[in-house]
Symmetry: C2
Subunit: 300 residues, 2 copies
């Protein structure tokens, strides 16, 4: 993998030493770590090395974007079975690298090890560019709730793959390759978002995180969540209400945030609900009791 590691504008010292050195002009650095474990988070018979490279990068870059920050540098630990083809690692790294390049982040370091279980550990660092972080705890009664990015597609693709189907290609591709709206994280921060997170556990579940951290109640209206014709078709074919994928499906990594008013919501975002005094999450005025989304692991 080492030869694919590279430095960039934020990288003062790249791979090959005991540690990397990254420029942090802001005086603060945002950092998150995520594990992807074969069998828990991905299956090599369902996803290519490229798919998994994109997914590993996307879910970590989305965490940084969800703070309102711009991802700058990434470190990767790759634990590989002895029989992992070298080509797999190359394709994984190239795709990972390309996904990071979309946001200007660079792979600055890593570690490679043997393991019976293929495991990817990603650390992403980001820059707030002088802004305060957008945490989960800032939502206030009176705020509006808004969403940007694809939602429910990954869950639909997972449902299709789980039944052994191989089409429609577009929802399977959405499951394999999330496309989070990275740039909208800093946009939301600039527009005054009061709380934000990426949707990785499912919309209701992640809104619950915001509601709990902010000590508020969040209500959303399903009429404001658009189910496109493609998800309607897949829902009919599988005899599943596609709204369930939108409300509980994770892994698309759209961003959900609260804003002080409808007027402050950026153009690419859709208002889906409101913040009130109270606790928990209401969907169309009622509780929506659901386990979180947890690929391959069942309910949490």
């Amino acid at each position: 993998m080492t030869e694919r590691l590279r430095g960039g504008p934020s990288c003062l010292l790249g791979p090959g030493d005991d540690a990397a050195l990254i420029r942090v002009p802001d005086g603060r650095v945002v950092a998150s770590v995520d594990l992807l474990v074969e069998g828990t988070h991905f299956r090599r018979d369902w996803s290519s090395a490229e798919d998994i490279g994109i997914k590993a990068a996307a879910q970590n870059l989305a965490d940084i974007a969800a703070m309102g920050a711009v991802p700058t540098a990434v470190l990767v630990g790759l634990a590989c079975p002895a029989d992992l083809p070298v080509a797999w690692a190359r394709e994984f790294t190239a795709a990972f690298d390309a996904e990071c390049a979309l946001v200007g982040a660079v792979l600055v370091g890593g570690d490679v090890s043997r393991s019976p279980t293929l495991t990817v550990a990603v650390t992403a660092l980001g820059d707030l560019q002088g802004r305060p972080p957008v945490t989960r705890s800032g939502a206030e009664p009176g705020d509006v709730v808004a969403l940007t990015g694809r939602l429910g597609w990954s869950a639909a693709g997972f449902a299709v793959l789980s039944r052994g189907f191989r089409s429609p290609a577009v929802v399977i591709a959405a499951h394999r390759r999330p496309a989070p709206p990275y740039a909208e994280g800093p946009v939301a921060a600039t527009c005054g978002a009061t709380a934000m997170c990426d949707v990785s556990d499912g919309l209701v579940q992640d809104l619950r995180h915001i509601a709990t951290a902010s000590a508020v109640q969040i209500g959303i209206e399903t009429a404001r969540l658009e189910i496109g014709p493609k998800l309607q078709d897949v829902g009919r074919a599988l005899n599943v209400d596609p709204m369930r994928w939108l409300l509980t499906g994770g892994e698309d990594h759209p961003l959900v945030a609260t804003f002080p008013s409808a007027a402050s919501v950026p153009a690419a975002w859709t208002v889906i609900g409101h913040v009130r005094e109270g606790e928990g999450v209401l969907v169309d005025g009622a509780p929506y009791p659901l386990p979180g989304w947890d690929a391959f692991r069942g309910a949490r």
Copy 2:
């Protein structure tokens, strides 16, 4: 694990959000990532949860120290088998936390996942406090080579455990719980170290990294490497020349560095050799052809 995560002086926003936020007054941050995989880097029948927590922290904090930096923040990904006792994870985290506290670093975030293979992914961040990083590439002909910290003890402990023995306790403890001289990294940087790394692959192997990166030859003299009476005893008992442990044993994580002169070598360091024009590493004037140290994996 979450309840054991905590913030500290460098931590502006700790666990519980999409990402942590860490203070980086220097405008640059040092970052490294390391994996520890059960069966590759540790064995639960040889090492307790506490031992592994200390080892996981130590090897990463040593990487930061080896740049001349002070570790400030750490993120941990823990992939656990379903049957891992909760007490194991608690003891691991407490020991990890305590080791980080030795240097003032705080656990700011993490991720927990299921995996058939117990795996620990550690990311450590550090602060150079305004100093330039001490890389592997700055050694110059005429420099002296110096070492600080315990060397060969972990390898001796590993040899003892490998033969099924349970004593002497002191070398087994050294294998289980490395005690890198963290503070000496910044000290060496302040004293003008020209190149530095921690010894994790074995002294000869790691000096080779410096020699290659700096395009110099490094010569060391075994007469300057002190083998204490305990390692002499263990060597006799196992019929092994203990010098081999000092030259090839990794995992003690002492620091080795080059300095412009003997006068600039800090008090806690021992001069063990010299830098010349040329390439490679000479031990007592001759090449020392050896595989690297690679616990449980055999030669690299």
